[in-house]
Symmetry: C2
Subunit: 234 residues, 2 copies
């Protein structure tokens, strides 16, 4: 009573992916809910366990499902972070001109997010931002700097109140992406400039000045963007 309308479109696995996505879209599967076993699911949709496993794997990498060995398959919370994890793949596999495009997008979103954060950030969140700022200036270990740099911007994005935007920015700042771009940038002695820019962003946040925050954030990303552009240009 469930598969009679077999449209035969595409591969069996592809159909299974669509079916499961549809079940979630229609609300028949709630976030966090456990699915039937692979064997049962395969039987219900009239296909082999192998094909069903491929479908499940596909939805797993998309951040829609989560498979726990020995326990079962569960729908994720379907939050922005879950679904946009794959965004990092784009950043990782991009190069050349597309890296500049990604930085351009980050500049647009980051400047807006920082402006919003200036208007909405709480005292606690601001304290957290300051903590990462201080930690960043207190060490010379590039790895640690990078980690706090990431956390610094993530805290701001969260304070902007748009989790989806924060997740996208997170993807645009994936470790491998930043490592690839930042390495060359920082080697040119840009540490001092980066610290100055971070300080300017923090100042604007503390002053609750959205326009200053927007400008500072745009300049911060724009610096790297311009540097990368010249690297690729001639």
């Amino acid at each position: 009573m469930d598969d009679e309308t077999a449209p035969q479109k595409g591969t069996v696995t592809q159909r299974a992916i669509e079916r499961i996505k549809a079940m979630i879209g229609e609300g028949r599967l709630e976030p966090g809910q456990r699915l039937p076993t692979e064997r049962d699911l395969a039987a219900q949709l009239g296909m082999s366990r192998s094909s069903m496993r491929e479908a499940i794997r596909a939805l797993t990498v998309l951040g829609v499902l989560e498979a726990r060995h020995g326990s079962g398959i569960y729908v994720t919370q379907l939050e922005a972070g879950d679904l946009l994890e794959t965004f990092g793949v784009v950043a990782d596999l991009s190069r050349g001109p597309r890296l500049v495009e990604l930085l351009e997008i980050r500049r647009i979103l980051e400047s807006t997010a920082t402006a919003l954060a200036a208007a909405r950030i709480t005292a606690d969140q601001l304290a957290e931002v300051e903590r990462h700022l201080a930690a960043m200036n207190a060490t010379d270990d590039p790895e640690e700097i990078l980690a706090h740099d990431l956390a610094f911007h993530r805290e701001i994005a969260v304070a902007a109140g748009n989790e989806t935007m924060a997740a996208i920015l997170e993807g645009l700042s994936s470790r491998t992406f930043r490592a690839r771009v930042w390495r060359g940038y920082q080697e040119e002695g840009a540490f001092a400039r980066t610290r100055r820019e971070h300080a300017a962003i923090h100042r604007a946040l503390a002053a609750r000045d959205p326009e200053a925050a927007r400008t500072a954030a745009a300049a911060h990303v724009g610096e790297v963007e311009e540097w990368l552009r010249t690297q690729l240009g001639p």
Copy 2:
């Protein structure tokens, strides 16, 4: 001579995914290139064909690989459109407050893209925009209107010169997403307003006025955003 560093981390399939991604990242696999057969790949990485197939399926849905039945497996062109196709999944599975967040992101990106387009659009591209605008106003079929609406904005995004941004906006305007949101919006007699807003956007493009274009686009998306916000609010 190729798998001795087996770190045993995670599942076999997961390792295969990382390996293939790494091969592409390191340039050992070029866009458009054909991969070895599933059987060979599995043998090279010392795993079963089943596990390798899951890895390939995963990379296929991510838009990194493309499998052609009877022919072979190929690396995609790795262009923004290929990799960001999965962005539509986010839009499809989101609901409630996250829909507003997505529209907010679209407003930010779309307004910037429209402003850039105003400065860069060519005569041919502008003519194409006008064609879709006219077609949109010449019919009452909601499906056709939606199609030309999509094409209208896509043409503008392309004219902005950032393919990655165009691909993201494409995902944020996926058919099912717009159908879900637009339906209710248009039922409230918003057709006239939408036409007015589209006309304003076109006017700003024709006048090569980036600021007017930014404002018009932001207002256009913002209208829907506000409507959706009130729908969810009380």
